[in-house]
């Protein structure tokens, strides 16, 4: 009995029946709540899914004799017309996503202090950042589709010297590797879907906070779980950015 009490002490848990709040508040052997553990293992499985996509991308790209130069494909910026600004827009998108992630970290920290207003304020920051990222992605997809990129057609082809051009501008000798479009829309689309669901979940978490659900529960662990998912979206973007825009 004494031993059990010691263990209780050590893990700050209460072995007596606690009111069930539906998210499994008891700590496990690794001193992390059941709910957070399961969110982490879900994210691990999701990481394998994204890795499979990105590894498929790498192997297909390596199997081609030629691949479009990202500096010449992703060079547009909204409102600047036919500009040449390689990587500029995607850097802005990356920055927006990082800041949105930071806002949610701050919400988690305010949750630790039981500061309801603070959680709400920073969650709004996270939601706005996510929505802005989605807007940017919509613009970029729209622009590339207007240039002729499709899942089964790639207008970015090589000229005689291997420099990337649009086929429609009669500079390239042939269209580029077909897989480029399918991989680009597939992988950035799957990531964008994660961003979209993340924004929806963040909006839900904001309203639950505003209703005082977590204040009454006595802890803001739900914000931590929602935050884990949101940071994972940011983490995946690091590797999408690497694979499509940098390499």
């Amino acid at each position: 009995m004494a031993e059990i009490l010691e263990i209780q002490e050590e893990h700050h848990t209460n072995l007596l029946p606690t009111p069930d709040n539906g998210e499994g508040g008891e700590k496990t052997a690794m001193n992390i709540s059941y709910g957070k553990t399961m969110m982490w293992y879900f994210l691990l499985s999701d990481a394998f899914t994204f890795s499979a996509f990105l590894i498929a991308y790498a192997s297909i790209r390596l199997a081609q004799a030629w691949w479009p130069n990202p500096n010449l494909v992703f060079k547009s910026f909204p409102g600047l017309g036919h500009t040449n600004a390689p990587l500029a827009f995607v850097s802005v998108m990356t920055f927006i996503l990082i800041l949105s992630s930071v806002a949610v970290v701050r919400a988690v920290q305010e949750g630790h202090r039981m500061n309801q207003k603070g959680v709400m304020l920073w969650m709004i920051g996270g939601i706005v950042g996510g929505a802005m990222f989605l807007g940017c992605q919509a613009w970029e997809w729209n622009h590339l589709i207007a240039e002729g990129l499709r899942p089964f057609y790639n207008p970015f082809g090589p000229d005689a010297n291997g420099v990337t051009h649009l086929v429609e501008e009669h500079m390239a000798v042939s269209p580029g590797p077909i897989a480029f479009g399918a991989l680009f829309f597939g992988i950035t689309g799957f990531h964008g879907f994660h961003v979209f669901t993340g924004v929806c979940i963040n909006i839900w978490a904001f309203f639950a906070t505003a209703n005082g659900t977590f204040q009454r529960r006595g802890h803001y662990e739900m914000i931590e779980k929602v935050g884990l998912y949101w940071h994972f979206v940011d983490l995946v973007w690091v590797f999408v950015f690497l694979a499509f825009y940098l390499m």
Binding site: M30, S33, A58, Q64, Q109
Partner: protein, 108 residues
Amino acid sequence: MSSHLSEEQYQSSVKAVWRATAILSIVTVVEVAVALILGPHLPKLVMNTFYVLASLAKAFFIVGEFMHLKYEKRAFMLSLGVPLVFLVWAIIAFATEGHYWNILNHPK
């Protein structure tokens, strides 16, 4: 349930997060600057190695600081990290195979 923080712990954790934010932003800016300035002049292999290392550094900051994994139990970190070792095999195997197709399809 969730450990309620003291004022000092709160202040230091806020500081740690802004520090991580600054590092992530700087690494991203450096990556893009290097890509635009040095990219056209250096061999592809050097550039790609740099990009991969910079991205892994960013990943460590996001997972460690933002996702708070740095502060969890070691056993828990290992339970997430060890399965990812399979990916090292997958990347090597699939990259080799892709390169082999390239040689088969486009003989010099």
